[in-house]
Amino acid sequence: MTTDMSLAAKSKKPGGPRKAAPWIGVVLVVAVLIAVVFGVRAAASRGGGAVDGGAADSVTIGLKLAPTNLDIRNTAGSSLDQILIGNVYEGLVARDSDNKVVPALAKSWDVSDDGLKYTFHLRDGVTFSNGDALTAEDVVWSLDELVSKQYHDADSLKNLETIGASGDDTVVLTLSKPYSQLLWALTGRAGLVFDKDAKYVAKTQAVGSGPYLVKEFKPNTMITLEANPKYWGAQPKTPTVVVRYYADDNAAVNALKSGEVQVLAPIGAQLAEPFRKDTAKYVVETGEGTDKYVLGMNNAAGHPTADKKVRQAIRYAIDHDQLIAARGGVDKALGGPIPSLDPGYEDLTKLYPHDAEKAQALLKEAGYTKEHPLRLTLTYANTYGSEIGDQLRSQLKEVGIDLKVNVVEFSTWLQDVYTDKDYDLSLVDHNESHDFTQWSNPDYYYGYDNKDVQRLTDEGLHATDDATRDAKLAQAARIVSEDAAADWLLNYRITTAMDKGVTGFPLNMNQTYLPLWNVAYTPAK
């Protein structure tokens, strides 16, 4: 009995703290949450003075995708092109900021009238960073190795027949058939010149002829570049460039805020907003790129999207301007497969303007009604975020298309869509330059097979002058767009945020090609 009574007495007065504890707990949790949110903001905005001002003989750059090693001949990934080409390694030719071919190790070149023979005249007195002279022999060896060992990008040199040297300063390439993109291909990995006699560990070291040499490399974290004292040209403006990699966007933003980096590229247009407003300290710029956000449609028979009317309806249904506005408004509308920095570009955005009524009419013609609506599945990799899918579902719903959005792992996308071609709609950022040829490959995952496009592309690629090439490719691109073989949602443009004192940082295409010799940093007093 006593037990019962004492228990009863206990439960009657549960005790003050016990009663109050939950409420205090809630309040505490909320307070902590708020404190964390604002604490992070406050801490981030407090920085700025962390950089050692003064000399500006060093600048730190924040990038996103990090290389796992430095072996540019064997390792895929644009992060290696970005940091090594034009900085550590050089090719016979290079790209300017408009993606046009300019001289590099070759001071000039001649092309025979039939387009089959390219003669490159090398610069005098060029040495590698180890002191070895760079001669025609090194160039021939580099190209021979590329072809025989099938190094990365070897297949971009199409129709190549012979590689020869004539003396120490002339290199001659002959082709079996004219190839109008050969020079551009040589600006990339395929054209890089390596030292035949150098012995180094390619994964962690680099010996090139560029303005910088790799002083320190920490995989996935950072690279320190130092001016190459033996460089043939003018010394780079900043002797030391440190590159740090931030996979996480918020970490990157905080690094710029705290002054850990002076440049951040890329930064999301929306994340850049606070920097854009803070004009006293930062400059935010947007550069052109060749990233094409392609809404792939399965053109192969047996899919609803094999019907041209359905594909056209989808293109009319999509409000591209709204997609771009939601992303921060810096991207560009793109009406066809060729972006403005590539040969054959033509503004095709007027072909399929946003027109919901036209879309509905086309769907009706294709045999879809309210009772029997068109049901499609959009499959894309989760790297692109759920936003675009959500918007497309809502936009297509307005014209009566029932869109199921399936956001999957990249590997799943690769298997289901790219390899098995088992999809209706797909979304990919095709970021490569000069990749229009994918539309003349009927085996590509689009399943697009148009003989006219294939013929025109072929004629464009084998043209002996640029004007013919551009005209043919433009013609082919127009057909692809008119056929509504896909929809081009937008042309992604790269946003770069910098400390106000930074000059000479490349803006266009800086995710694949980032020559740093012209970058200078003057810290604010």
Binding site: L7, P22, V30, Q270, A325, E387, E409
Partner: protein
Amino acid sequence: MNRPDRRRVPEAPARIAAEHGPRGRLRRAGVVVASMWAHGAGRFALVTLGLWILVSLVSLFWTPRSLWETNGYAVWAKPSADHWLGTDGVGADVFSWLMAGSRTDLVIVALTVLVALAIGLLLVAAMTSRAAALAHGSVVLIDALISIPTVLIALMLAVPLGASVAVIVLACGFGYGLNLARVARPSAMLAARSMYVESARADGASAMRVFATHIVPNVMPTLVVQCSLSAGTAVLAEAGLTYLGVGVPSGVPSWGHSLSTSVRFINIYPLTVLWPGLLVTVVVVALNLFGDALREAADPLTNPRLRGDDGHRRR
């Protein structure tokens, strides 16, 4: 003062309930709820959970804005009359998405607790079995399996299942089920070895019957608390797994979805992250308190109103 002593025996509550039939049970439930209401913590839990269920039901028929309404020109809008909690990255209404998300989370929590309870009871049955091999084997098995992180199980389940509610329910249900069994084991063993179980067995009661009428009522108070803790953790797991991309698939409203889509912009639009975060916090606190309050209110040992009520009626 002369009540029979067996009232103090732990299995008593279930027996009383059984004796009184459905009406008695209903009355008991009323008393339990009233007792919970009498305490601040219990009241908070009841109000929050009640609101949660109500909002979930309402969201089936009505949300302030359509979920599928997007507006690229009005993304990340601040709270306004049109959008009570502002808009997200595609211009959809945050309040509507959170409302609709509450029903997804409710379903996930309910299913997770059911799965956990089923697995937990199954394991308790195995551990209290009279077959020594089964009893000992299951203890070893639980100890081994409990060391596998729930997130790892979820990631592995996501390989065949993809991002889906089933991943959360199965992974959490499994993990929490093991936990449940382990926590319930002492009281279950105590009951299994007790005199009344022995006498029931002597009476010829089957193992199943012994488990259902004697062991389960004994572990129930422990299980109730554990279930409500599990429910709270399930809400957190939904948010976490959805953030990792293996939870609720894209396009299905859930609090985790609202969190994960806005967290990238926490530096610029902290409010949008705050709403789902706050909601999850409040609900998880409520669930945790609910278990404690329910155990105290439903156990005649700690709740005199149950005893008084019962004693009065029995006289």
